[in-house]
């Protein structure tokens, strides 16, 4: 007993003070990207050519970056001869509409909160059923980590439940494999109305690396309507937490 208490003291308090406190992310963290097109050589398409999923397009002095496809992999950054591409440490990436995933300037239109009635229902208590539909277990792991003492998701009234019938919505990861489509549809139907759907990670948004495979369906919204898109491969736990809190109007 003494040893248990002694260990408890040594382990200290570890919960981050998010959203109020300072966020610390490693120097090499790849968050919101940017292209300084002023530096782009004429007709250079090296970034577009290097991108594994054709998420980046540069057209003269304009660029378009599809964060729903982006794996935040640094292949483009490395291919750029002019060092015009950079990833900031801005982890806030969640949006409500798919078209808002297209970044074409310095900022992104971050997720708006739910409507009044939905917010009244879910702001202080949101129960989610997680469905992995072809996810590689990275998104799943970094969603799961939100329930640890570090992020302590439950202090925001958000939690994961075992049954879709106890849930207010689904949190989907993976490109939706053909073999999981029916299970996903059934799970969605089992959630009582009104319900929410959150797509986490490049796969769940666009199919990710598995886009256009015959065995997958290019993301959650090919099967069910999606209310919140959280980009990343996988998204940092803070990106997911930020998205959830924005959706509930708590940020």
């Amino acid at each position: 007993m003494f040893k248990v208490l002694w260990t408890r003291l040594q382990q200290k308090r570890r919960t981050v003070s998010f959203p109020k406190g300072k966020v610390s992310l490693p120097e090499r963290f790849r968050g919101l990207p940017h292209i300084d097109t002023a530096r782009c050589p004429d007709h250079c398409q090296e970034c577009a050519k290097a991108c594994p999923l054709d998420a980046v397009r540069v057209d003269g002095k304009k660029f378009q970056w599809d964060l729903g496809k982006c794996l935040f992999c640094a292949d483009c950054m490395e291919a750029c001869p002019a060092h015009a591409i950079s990833y900031s440490r801005d982890y806030r990436l969640a949006v409500r509409k798919k078209e808002n995933l297209i970044l074409d300037g310095p900022t992104l239109e971050l997720a708006q909160s739910l409507g009044k009635e939905m917010k009244r229902l879910f702001k202080r208590s949101l129960r989610l059923r997680q469905v992995s539909a072809g996810g590689c277990n990275a998104c799943e792991a970094d969603v799961n980590v939100l329930t640890t003492v570090v992020f302590d998701l439950a202090r925001f009234g958000i939690d994961f439940v075992a049954s879709p019938r106890h849930a207010d919505g689904l949190l989907i990861t993976g490109p939706v494999t053909d073999n999981m489509k029916l299970a996903l549809e059934k799970t969605y139907q089992a959630v009582p109305h009104p319900k929410l759907v959150i797509a986490v990670g490049a796969c769940a948004i666009s199919g990710g690396p598995y886009r256009d495979h015959a065995e997958t369906h290019n993301g959650a919204d090919s099967v069910v309507p999606v209310d919140l898109y959280i980009p990343g491969c996988p998204p940092h736990p803070l990106t997911t937490l930020d998205g959830l809190l924005r959706l509930l109007g708590r940020l």
């Binding site: 040893k3 260990t7 040594q10 382990q11 992310l25 490693p26 120097e27 090499r28 963290f29 790849r30 050519k49 594994p52 794996l71 935040f72 640094a74 292949d75 490395e78 990833y87 997680q130 469905v131 992995s132 539909a133 072809g134 996810g135 590689c136 277990n137 990275a138 998104c139 799943e140 792991a141 970094d142 969603v143 799961n144 980590v145 329930t147 640890t148 003492v149 570090v150 994961f160 075992a162 049954s163 879709p164 490109p175 494999t177 073999n179 999981m180 029916l182 299970a183 799970t187 796969c203 690396p209 598995y210 495979h213 015959a214 065995e215 997958t216 491969c233 996988p234 940092h236 736990p237």
Partner: protein, 507 residues
């Protein structure tokens, strides 16, 4: 096992396709069976379609004690006499061959689909299924126990936790499980098939997401294969950094598993500390490459990110702090009778069963089998820095937990040494085009166990065939066997003690 019938190779050797010994099907079968009898095991057994309705079967075998690998092949058309009846470790591989290529292993005792997809050779479905009808996952004839008081429990594909999908069927008598059958394939994304002819820029991202928690393991196996085929010498510093990343991946997952095992027996102190400590290890990976899962770190030819003095000092000091916390958290487990009572004697596998099923990684070492690629078939940094194999003998949940703990200590030791004595020099080398009509076997000890990639090139040096074997592919059957005779309520605990990958299996 000797003679010209088998070619002896090493981890990371390049050989010409035409040098792979070619046997008659009966001879092929005979050699595998005799090999298994004399201490060899199947690392990979797969088919590759060749001209005129033929499928070429390749077998990669290992003898861990001798540290030798061997390779042979045989051509078959639509069937061959199954190995599984006499050699259970071929079980899953032969089902896969039947599903992918429509080649029937005649006399296979349990011939069912593995991943539930269409056959890759048109019109050769091993089960004669109607090609106009959709193949549904989990629709197969499950093993059933009959009797008045026997009941069946079906779980999944969607489970209660934040976890990947799979279907489990328990044949129970009261609480007691007679048999568990595991049916997977829900995560099947068609990776192997898409690898051939896929844009090169996408291939590496398949590797990083084959099993997301084993990003470094699979990415390293692929990089190693490509480097061998292109005869590229990877700089020493890159090899050391790969070792650092691989051990960090192991530490994060082992810490997480020890916490989850504690959680499954309702021992909350360790569960909550280790849940957090797992993240601390992931953050060390992020310090090195920006991603908690090591995404973007490995490149064919080396690594992408280097460490400076300041980074190394920070890594070392954080590692020491995390390790101290982890020791405190994990040692509580071994001191708590309530935990030990639940761990010991639960989900026991005998060394014999392990050997018969060809298990690898933690479940094998927890039965006392010394199987560890880092020791038996070392590549890269492990040729210079040897890690002793951590084993335990009881084969139960405790052994699988304790082997993890032993490995954690070895890995921390390895990291401290490597970070203190990092070789100088560049961290990557430009990769040439792969040699034409060659083959290589690339083995890496991922945190779950042995990862095997086999790559073959065509006459232009493009990838002509690529075979991935995740450790989970060997080990799922081990979980099913470990549950025999156990109460069904111990399934979560047994499952967690194996913690196998669904997507690594389903590909």
């Amino acid at each position: 096992m000797s003679g010209a019938a088998f070619l002896s190779i090493r981890n990371g050797d390049i050989l010409r396709l035409k040098d792979v010994p070619h046997l008659a099907p009966a001879e092929f079968r005979d050699h595998i069976l005799r090999g298994v009898d004399s201490g060899w095991r199947i690392v990979s057994l797969f088919g590759k379609p060749i001209a005129d309705r033929y499928v070429r079967l390749y077998a990669v075998m290992a003898n861990d004690r001798q540290g030798s690998l061997s390779l042979c092949s045989a051509d078959v058309t639509d069937q061959y006499p199954a190995l599984t009846g006499e050699c259970p470790q071929a079980h899953w591989f032969e089902r896969e061959i039947a599903e992918q290529w429509g080649v029937i292993p005649k006399g296979h005792p349990w011939l069912k689909p593995v991943r539930f997809h269409e056959v890759y050779r048109f019109g050769t479905d091993a089960w004669g299924r109607d090609p106009s009808k959709k193949i549904l996952p989990g629709v197969t004839d499950f093993f059933q126990v009959r009797g008045e008081e026997v009941h069946e429990v079906a779980v999944g594909p969607v489970h209660a936790g934040v976890i990947e999908p799979g279907h489990f069927r328990f044949q129970c008598h009261g609480e007691k499980v007679f048999h568990l059958e595991i049916s997977l394939g829900y995560q099947h994304r068609g990776v192997e098939r898409s690898l051939i002819g896929a844009p090169a820029k996408r291939v590496f991202h398949y590797m990083e997401t084959l099993a997301g928690d084993t990003t470094i393991g699979h990415a390293t196996a692929y990089a190693q294969a490509m480097e061998t085929l292109a005869r590229c010498k990877v700089p020493a510093r890159a090899q050391a950094l790969r070792g650092v990343m691989l051990e960090l991946e192991r530490l994060a997952n082992h810490a997480g598993d020890l916490g989850a095992l504690a959680g499954d027996v309702a021992y909350l102190p360790t569960a909550s500390y280790c849940g957090r400590i797992r993240g601390d290890f992931l953050n060390l990976s992020a310090l090195i490459c920006g991603s908690r899962f090591g995404r973007g770190m490995i490149l064919p030819g080396g690594v992408r990110f280097d460490l400076d003095e300041k980074n190394i000092a920070e890594l070392l000091s954080r590692l020491n702090g995390i390790y101290k916390n982890l020791c405190g958290a994990v040692n509580l487990l071994w001191d708590s009778p309530s935990v030990m009572n639940r761990f010991e004697g639960t989900g026991t596998l005998s060394a014999e069963a392990c050997e018969n099923l060809g298990l690898v990684g933690i479940p094998a070492r927890a039965c006392g089998l010394e199987r560890d690629i880092r020791f038996d078939f070392p590549a890269g940094i492990y040729r210079l820095a040897q890690l002793p194999v951590s084993t335990y003998t009881s084969g139960d949940v405790f052994a699988r937990a304790y082997v993890r703990w032993l490995e954690v200590q070895r890995s921390v030791d390895f990291l401290q040494n490597q970070l203190a004595t990092m070789p100088e020099g560049p961290v990557s080398e430009t990769l040439a085009h792969p040699a034409s009509e060659t083959l290589t076997v690339s083995l890496v000890e991922g945190w779950r166990g042995e990862i095997c990639h086999v790559a073959m090139t065509d006459k232009h040096g493009h990838i002509a065939h690529y075979k991935v074997v995740d450790p989970s592919f060997h080990n799922w059957m081990g979980l099913a066997m470990a549950l025999r005779g156990e109460p069904i309520s111990d399934f979560p605990l047994c499952n967690k003690s194996f913690n196998l990958s669904y997507c690594g299996h389903d590909l």
